[in-house]
């Protein structure tokens, strides 16, 4: 008899709904009282996504104050890269003592964003910026580099963590 009653009257559904409702009420009221947004859903396309300072995005070459590329072709990043996505061609430039990268190719399609290159760089000439909106229609678009790529050199518009800041 008890069993039939339990089957007939949906206690469990009521219980589950009660928990959900209690939870909703709790969150709703506390949020209202503290004047904080109570939803946890991020409104990504409308609101810019916040990433942590150490987030690893796309590789970017840096320039110094004079607008010179900082990279001096020590090839440390090329050697340490676990997936061999960096190719550097050494060269010379007039009026510059240090070697100058004639080509700095970065195949983003294979990159795993491990930041080993930045770690190995002794001249602070590369960073991984905060850019994560990298989708494209063609695989060719992921082949970035000094030859034929536009914003490979620009520092990211988002401030990037550096060890000195800590």
């Amino acid at each position: 008899m008890n069993k039939i009653l339990r089957t007939l009257i949906p206690f469990d559904i009521a219980k589950g709904l009660a928990i959900t409702g209690k939870h909703f009420a709790k969150v709703f009221f506390t949020a209202n009282r503290r004047k904080v947004p109570f939803h946890i859903v991020s409104e990504y396309p409308e609101v810019v996504a916040k990433v942590q300072p150490r987030f690893r995005g796309r590789l970017t070459l840096l320039k110094d104050e004079q607008g010179e590329i900082k990279c001096v072709c020590c090839l440390a990043c090329e050697k340490i890269c676990p997936t061999q996505v960096i190719t550097i061609e050494k060269g010379k430039k007039e009026g510059r003592k240090m070697p100058f990268p004639v080509r700095y190719d970065f195949e983003m399609e294979r990159c795993i964003f491990c930041e080993f290159c930045v770690e190995s760089c002794g001249f602070d000439s590369i960073i991984l910026n905060h850019q994560f909106e990298l989708a494209a229609y063609n695989r060719e678009d992921f082949s970035l580099g000094m030859v034929g790529a536009e914003n490979m050199f620009e520092p990211s518009n988002v401030g990037k963590f550096s060890v000195a800041d800590d």
Binding site: Q84, E107, E109, R110, R139, E140, F142, S143, G148
Partner: protein, 294 residues
């Protein structure tokens, strides 16, 4: 006695490089080059002691030679009336200032290893400790006996086979693989490594009878390294497809496989063209049938 296996590089037509900058240069990929090892990195107390002895002897010989050179130089200088050269100083090994302390093989002092040697006698080839781990190398024919002893002996009582794997040593003479068994005693909180050295073609006895969990591990060893186990209930490939060619974890197998990049695809959006039929998996896992030319 197996010779070091010289890999036969199969003649595979290089896939034609499609145009476009994004194409990875597979032919030049470091993953494609086969580098055969020249040494046999098999840890062993005996070889270590022999190495240390040889190094000490070489050091001593060098020192004696330096002294003799000094004597002759001194005699020569005296004869010519010049100043005597500086007496040689025995070089001391450079001490690095870091937190590394290389673990070397040491004499076996653990009761378990001694117990194994006592029970198995001449079947134990070598026992030693390294980095706090116990290693016991037994004759390849008596591995099942050793495993049974470890499982059933009240003093040893290793209940679980934690891991079983193998390593390929193409540069070695007398054997080609080492198979290692990592045993765990849950009740006694101990670990033990059993090791056998097997030549090419030898079929070691399976551990499934003692530890049923060895089933998949031995299948994986067969799949990856090509060691067949005798009396195994199901000696088939486990990770690669059934008709895979070669054993990937052997040292003569390139990381980038042999002729595997020939998958072709033709866009078939509306289904109005002839369907690209899937065939039975071909030699290297996949064979997509090409559409007929119109």
């Amino acid at each position: 006695m197996s010779e070091p296996v010289v890999p036969e590089t199969p003649q595979v037509p290089e896939p034609e490089a499609p145009s476009g900058p994004y194409v990875y240069d597979y032919a030049a990929s470091p993953q494609r080059q086969i580098v055969m090892p020249k040494t046999v990195p098999l840890p062993s107390l005996r070889t270590y002691q022999a190495e240390v002895k040889a190094a000490a002897e070489a050091d001593e010989a060098k020192w004696v030679k330096m002294q003799a050179d000094f004597e002759t130089a001194k005699a020569k200088a005296e004869a010519e009336g010049k100043d005597a050269p500086k007496p040689p100083v025995r070089p001391v090994p450079r001490k690095d200032d870091n937190d590394m302390k290389t673990p070397w093989p040491q004499e076996a002092k653990d009761a378990d290893l001694l117990r194994l040697q006592e029970c198995l006698g001449a079947k134990v080839e070598e026992i030693f400790e390294q980095a706090g781990e116990l290693t016991c190398q037994v004759a390849k024919e008596s591995i099942l006996e050793a495993l049974q002893l470890c499982r059933q002996d009240a003093q040893l009582n290793y209940e679980m086979l934690a891991d079983e794997t193998a390593t390929h040593y193409p540069a070695a003479t007398g054997f080609a693989f080492s198979v290692v068994y990592h045993l765990t005693s849950i009740s006694r909180r101990k670990r033990l490594r059993l090791r056998i050295l097997v030549p090419e073609g030898f079929q070691p006895e399976t551990a499934c009878a003692v530890y049923p969990g060895a089933n998949w591990m031995e299948r994986e060893i067969y799949d990856m390294l090509g060691i067949r186990f005798a009396n195994h209930p199901d000696m088939t490939r486990i990770l690669c497809p059934e008709d895979w060619e070669g054993y990937p974890l052997r040292k003569d197998y390139p990381t980038v496989g042999l002729g595997q990049r020939d998958i072709a695809f033709r866009e078939d959006r509306g289904g109005m063209l002839e369907r690209i039929a899937l065939q039975k998996a071909g030699q290297l896992g996949i064979n997509l049938k090409q559409p007929k030319a119109d």
